[in-house]
Symmetry: C2
Subunit: 292 residues, 2 copies
Amino acid sequence: MPEIPFQRVAIVGLGLMGGSVAKALRAAGYAGRIRAALADAAAVGALQESAETWQVELSPVLPDVLADADLILLATPPRVMLGQLEDIARWADAAALVTDIASTKNTIAGRATALLGARFVGGHPVVGSEMTGFHAAREDLYRGAQVVLTPLPSQTDAQAVEKLRQFWVALGAEVREMSPEAHDEALAATSHAPHLLAYLYMAGLEERLPGLEDLAGGGLRDFSRIVDSNPALWSEILLENQQAVRQQLQQVQHNLQLAEQLLAVEDAAGLQSWLSLGKTVRQQFHFPPVSA
Amino acid sequence: MPEIPFQRVAIVGLGLMGGSVAKALRAAGYAGRIRAALADAAAVGALQESAETWQVELSPVLPDVLADADLILLATPPRVMLGQLEDIARWADAAALVTDIASTKNTIAGRATALLGARFVGGHPVVGSEMTGFHAAREDLYRGAQVVLTPLPSQTDAQAVEKLRQFWVALGAEVREMSPEAHDEALAATSHAPHLLAYLYMAGLEERLPGLEDLAGGGLRDFSRIVDSNPALWSEILLENQQAVRQQLQQVQHNLQLAEQLLAVEDAAGLQSWLSLGKTVRQQFHFPPVSA
C-alpha cells in the first residue's frame, strides 16, 4: 500500500468531498491524526458520533484544527474557501502543505499562492455527486478518480506537488498536472456548462406544470440528475468560472441554431450525421463507473 | 391477474420495445399466440433461438404474421412504420385492433386512421433505453410505466381503446389518453429536446479532443447517457416532431441568453434562485426508478 506522506491532516469543511478524504484515509490504513474544522458547535454536535467512528476529531475553532498540521485540505464551498484564506495563512503551521478540492482553480490558485506562497498546491478531484454532507461521504469516492493538481510555474514548490501526488495516489486516484486556466476551461466544458444547461432546462419546464410530471422517462431523469445538486454551491462555481462557462454557452447557442435549421429544412442526413458525431465523441470519454 | 383481451398477437419489429411486449406477455401468463415480423430471413435466423425461449414465432413474411391476428402492434422505427401502413391495412384481419409504440403520434395517428379506420389506436409507452434489440428487451420494461393512448375524437373506436387499456394494464402499465398533438408537445419537452441537446452538446466537444476524455465525472456521464441511443432512430423522431422540438429549442435559446447575462453581471442571487427553481421543478417529476 502506498505510504501517505503526512501524519497530521487538517480538513476544513467535512462535507461530501472532505468527509470522503477522511474516510478514504482510514480505509487506506492511515493511522495518523485527522482533525476537521466545522462552521459551529451545532455542526460539530450533529456529526460527533459518526466522526468518532472514523476517528476524526471535530472542532469549530479553526486555529485548534490547524495547529501543527502537516497537511491542510480546504474543502468548503468556493466563496467560503476564498474568505477563509487569510485565516488559514494566519494559523497554519509554517511547514504545512496547503491544498484544496475546489472545482474552479484560477481564482483560488492566485489568491492562495499570494497568501501562502510555494506550499499551496491547488487540487481538484474530478468526482462528485448530487449527495451532500459527511453521511453521504464515501471511502471509495476517489478510487479511480482523476485528480488535477494546478501548481503555478516557478511559484509552487515541486516537492510539495510530489508529496500531494503521493497522497492522492494512496487514496486510489490518478493524478495529473494542468495550469489553473486550462483546468477551468476544461471543466467548463465537462461539468459546469452541462450543469447550467440541465438546471435551466428544468427551470424552463415550470410553465408546463402540472401536466408533464408523469410523462418523462429515464432519459430526462438522467439528463437532469445533476439538477439535484446544491444550487448555492453551483451558483458559486458557475460565477467563479463565468468566463469559460459563457464561452461554452455561446458554442451551445451556435449549435442550437444549426440544429433548428436542420430540423426546419428536414435535413435527415445532416441531422443523423451530427447525432452520430455526438455519439462517437461520447464514446471517447472515460467516465467513472455508474456506481460512483 | 388482469386478463389480456387478445388471443393472437402480431408484433411488427421485435426490437427493445416490441420484444419487451412479447416477454412481458409471457411473464404475465399470456398463453396465446405471439408472432413477430422481422425484416428478413437473416434477422429471423439471428433471433430464432431466444425467440423460441419466449414462444414467439418469427417470420419475414408480413402477411403470415398478420393472418387472423386480433392485435397487431407496430414496433418498427417511425419512418419504417409509416412506410408499412399500406401493407398492414392490406393484410390485417378486418377485426384486428392495430396499435403502435412510436414516440411521436401526430403523423402516425392521422395516416393510420385514414388507412385503418376506427380500429387503429395510437399508443406510446413512455419508457426506453439506450439499449436496442430483442436481447436487451425486458419483461418488466412496462411495469409502472406510463402508456399514452391517442384516440382521435369521433374517429377511434371507444371499445378498441378500452381493450388496449386492459392490455397495457395487464403488462403493469398505467394508461392515460391524450390528443396526438398534446402528446407530441409534451414529449418534445420531456424527451425529444433533451436528447437533441445532449447529442449536440457532445458533438460540440469534438474540437476539444483529445484532452477532455479523462476530465469528466458522473455529471456529464449521466447528462449524456441518452447520446448512446441510436442516431438513425433519433433523427427520425426529431424530424417527425420537428415543430414542437424547435419551439422547445427556442425557449432554451432564450434561457441561455438570460443565463449568460446573469453570469456576465455576476448576479449571484438571480442565478441561485434560477438554479433553485430548476431543482424544485425537477422534484415534481415522477421519474421511473433508476433500475428501469
